[in-house]
Symmetry: C2
Subunit: 338 residues, 2 copies
DNA sequence: TTGAAAGCGCTAACAC
DNA sequence: GTGTTAGCGCTTTCAA
């Protein structure tokens, strides 16, 4: 059909102007006469010209690519975040380049390096904990960096790199501890997954348990599975935890999948919820109030985190002016299972 | 920290060889002496050199980017597909560049054009229906194109562009019709969402209804909501459909979310499932068997579709040799709600 | 096995 | 408002 794609030069020749003028028209640069613009645009249309981004980005040292590094799409959290990011980016004519670590933190550094080699206009990363080398690369890259999900920077040296947007995972853990205690539960357990490798869940749990301690309560049982989180895993873990600690009266799960699994276990075993055992999740997925008993959980603003991150990239100073840390807050949904 | 990133030239100077030799070492080109390789690698390490992909891709007219165009991440289908794609791509040192249409087909053309301007090594698209202009761009781009999800090419002119990987949406529609009829249902309705703009659900429904007709049954009710699919929408639609057609004995939903919503409606209204009303979904999400009654549905191999698509890109002839159409098949899960 | 020259397609910097 | 020049950092020739 077409051997080679038309270039700026072809458009310039056809419209009888210089290449740079074509370039300016294509980029909507200021100070272009209407007649020039028209001639160029018509020639471009005629040839079906599309700019070669590689060349433009190479020369200008900047691209319309935004790198997004998150653990995985196979969960209920990041798809909505990425959707939010891309919604805003695409309205700005920018593109999302994905880097998925598959929950293997050791891959992050390589992914960051690789993505930086595309001269992205900015980078969005999940979490605040990154290797020293990663941090060095990012600060040296001279592009805005947004860390999302977590804003508990207190004990992370050098965090945030530029801007952090998310919620306080610790505050969330404390909120759930307060809620369960206020409801009268005293023998409280915990179930996690992924070996707690997303540090966010670890932080949340530690804050949760610390708050229980402030209430005079010791953790009454804890199970952190190494595997991927799922409903089935939640079911198993709930069973195993109850076996090990039969006198539990409440369990906080690291996410809603696990908690739904816990609820299923209770239904199957005829364990009264919340009479005999209370259950709570985290995330606030759609699904969590679709069950016969609506799950008590904490709703996080996932889409908005993504949108806000993309917006800050477009106007980095906006984020910095706001104090480099943007707390989007969470909502504890006290429903039927506590 | 660092003013400018080191370039090939810097590495060449430090190691005392030519730029092209450095380039060859970095790309693992053949016919490189061990001593040269060592000298170059040590210099590169010393400088912290990372290749500039923009320059390399500009010159070589090819990149390690793979463009992925799908409707959205806010559903239960594409996150798993993208995860599968990225799993395979990243093992090949390739990167996913995302283009989300947000279920607006009119955006697809612009997104494809924009993504092609990055000289991707290949493109993965959801669905077989694309505008004439899109098709022309893609065939002219000289890169392998994989269309995923749907393999019903019969009435799509020029499909597949290169390779199609997925399931027969029509066969799935027919399978569900057969299943419901075999179970004895005769007054069968349908609920869809998104205005059926993913043509896949439309195809599936038409085949479903055509098969019912073969069984001598007319559609007993049909509701296609224009909104985004969700559990809540399924609930509403189920209610409205029953109002309009109170004598329905079964409903096929375009996806599991909607079907779960339908089940909730029935539970809330005390409608016996499947005694009074049978329900079936589509996709086979984890969640669909987490309910008190495990949803009858059709399981689609989402992760495998993504993996297979990425694999075909790495070895385009593999896919072409296989006949340009790869049917990954589906499984009808006949469970508690039919 | 290594190198020299040329240029991918575009845009920054500077003219006019 | 428009054009000229130079060169981004790399890889493809081609030569030795």
């Amino acid at each position: 059909m077409t051997g080679t794609r038309p270039t700026l030069r072809d458009v310039a020749r056809l419209s009888g102007v210089s290449e740079i003028s074509v370039s300016r028209v294509m980029r909507n640069a200021p100070n272009i006469s209407a007649s020039l613009r028209e001639r160029v645009e018509s020639a471009a249309r005629q040839l079906g010209y599309t700019p070669n981004r590689l060349a433009g980005a190479l020369k200008s040292q900047t691209s319309n690519l935004v790198a997004v590094v998150v653990p995985s799409m196979s969960n209920n959290v990041f798809p909505e975040v990425v959707d939010g990011i891309d919604r805003v980016l695409s309205a700005q004519g920018r593109r999302t380049v994905l880097g998925l670590t598959q929950y293997d933190d050791s891959r992050e550094e390589g992914i960051i390096r690789e993505l930086l080699s595309w001269s992205p206009a900015g980078m969005i990363l999940a979490g605040l904990e990154h290797s020293r080398a990663s941090r060095t690369m990012l600060t040296g890259a001279g592009i805005p960096v947004v860390e999302i999900m977590d804003i508990d920077t207190a004990d992370v040296a050098g965090a945030p790199i530029d801007v952090a947007i998310g919620i306080s995972q610790r505050a969330a853990g404390r909120a759930m501890a307060d809620h369960l205690v206020a409801r009268g539960y005293r023998r409280i357990g915990y179930v996690g997954a992924w070996g707690e490798s997303p540090d966010r869940s670890l932080k949340r749990r530690l804050a949760f348990e610390a708050r229980l301690a402030e209430h005079g309560l010791a953790p009454a049982g804890r199970l952190i599975a190494p595997e991927a989180s799922s409903i089935g895993l939640g079911r198993q873990c709930c069973a195993r935890l109850l076996e090990a600690a039969p006198d539990l009266d409440a369990v906080f799960f690291a996410n809603d999948d696990l908690a739904v699994g816990g609820l299923l276990h209770c239904m199957a075993e005829g364990i009264a919820v919340p009479g005999r055992l209370a259950l709570a999740g985290f995330n606030g997925i759609d699904f969590a109030d679709a069950l016969p008993q609506r799950l008590t959980t904490i709703r996080t603003p996932r889409g908005r985190m993504g949108e806000a991150a993309a917006q800050v990239l477009a106007d980095p100073d906006g984020g910095r002016a706001a104090g480099a840390i943007i707390d989007l807050g969470f909502t504890l949904l006290a429903r039927d299972t506590t």
